[in-house]
């Protein structure tokens, strides 16, 4: 009888704690479809969890992944990543699952779609543009040097805007000088 009383007391203590664990949310399947991979366990699961967790931003940190963050929120998220990977959801599905709640901001690497392509290709475009600019400057410099060495003492080409003035100066120089009166 005493044992039964103890058991009842134990159950009454444990029951609320067990009940408190109850959380019912929509299945990930409803959000990202059925798992595309196979269920994982052991070292494979740990590796997958690490890989995906390092791609997810810790929402309460500054630029840290949930893999690197010690924040409770990050730990909870990482636990969920592990659960999803264990069920066979692949990397993209797990990222999409978190993105459905947090938006694209939760991805540390922006997905290659829409305007995000700019983020991926802009550095390459800028590097190419820079290389082109450097090449043209070098080519122009080389061409100028080559022209100079071909005609080292050649006078510079006449400026058409200055031509009338030059003509006037030449005329004045060629004209006979008139006697001037001294006062």
């Amino acid at each position: 009888m005493r044992r039964l009383g103890l058991l009842v007391a134990l159950v009454s203590l444990v029951a609320p704690a067990l009940a408190a664990q109850e959380v019912r949310l929509p299945s990930p399947r409803e959000i990202v479809g059925p798992p595309r991979g196979r269920p994982l366990s052991g070292a494979e699961l740990q590796e997958k969890t690490r890989e995906v967790a390092s791609l997810l931003r810790c929402p309460v940190c500054q630029g840290l992944s949930i893999q690197d963050s010690p924040a409770p929120m990050a730990i909870n998220m990482k636990r969920q990543v592990e659960e999803l990977a264990a069920e066979g959801y692949d990397r993209e599905q797990i990222l999409a699952y978190f993105e459905a709640s947090y938006g694209e901001f939760v991805r540390l690497n922006p997905a290659m779609r829409g305007m995000n392509w700019l983020v991926w290709i802009a550095p390459a475009i800028l590097a190419l543009a820079g290389a082109w600019a450097v090449r043209s400057v070098l080519r122009r410099g080389r061409a100028a040097a080559a022209a100079e060495s071909a005609q080292p003492d050649a006078p510079p080409p006449p400026d058409p805007d200055l031509e009338p003035y030059l003509r006037k100066v030449r005329d004045l120089a060629d004209a006979p000088t008139a006697p001037t009166e001294r006062s």
Binding site: L25, P59, N76, G103
Partner: protein, 175 residues
Amino acid sequence: MNRKVLLIGAALVVPTIAILFLNLGRNPHKVVSPLVGRPMIEFKLTEVGSGQPIDLASMRGRPLVINFWATWCLPCYAEHGVLVRGARRMGSDVQFLGVVFDDEESRILRFLDQNGREYPTLVDEAGKVAIAYGVYGVPETFFVDAAGTIVAKHEGPLDDSSLAAYLATVIGGPH
């Protein structure tokens, strides 16, 4: 050549200035929740104190205010009073719910004893509901209309006027 350089420079500078100009006054830390405009995510959690499970599905048909908070969050203390007053004022017209994560039940009970309890407070032990709602930090509050659509999310503590404005959007008219 000068014209070419000018065109390339303009092609780089004009879009940059346009982007900067369009984003003037925007908070770079604010992230728009993808959940706004979508149906609320239904969940079932246990109420603090009573241990009774509360299912969000059973609350359909009434506007909801779902507040994520924790006892270790200082702004939550001031905000709790605002929510208690709001819940009292709205009565059965709007269902308020508190969801606490990353916390201990004894602390939550003490907090509620000291700061008032006007609506159910649920415990989200593993933070799954908070993650499903894309919670970044506490406090954060979601406003759900009677049709079950999330119409707004507020980050940070609410005050009386902002709560009234949000309630007006879920229920219609000033409150």
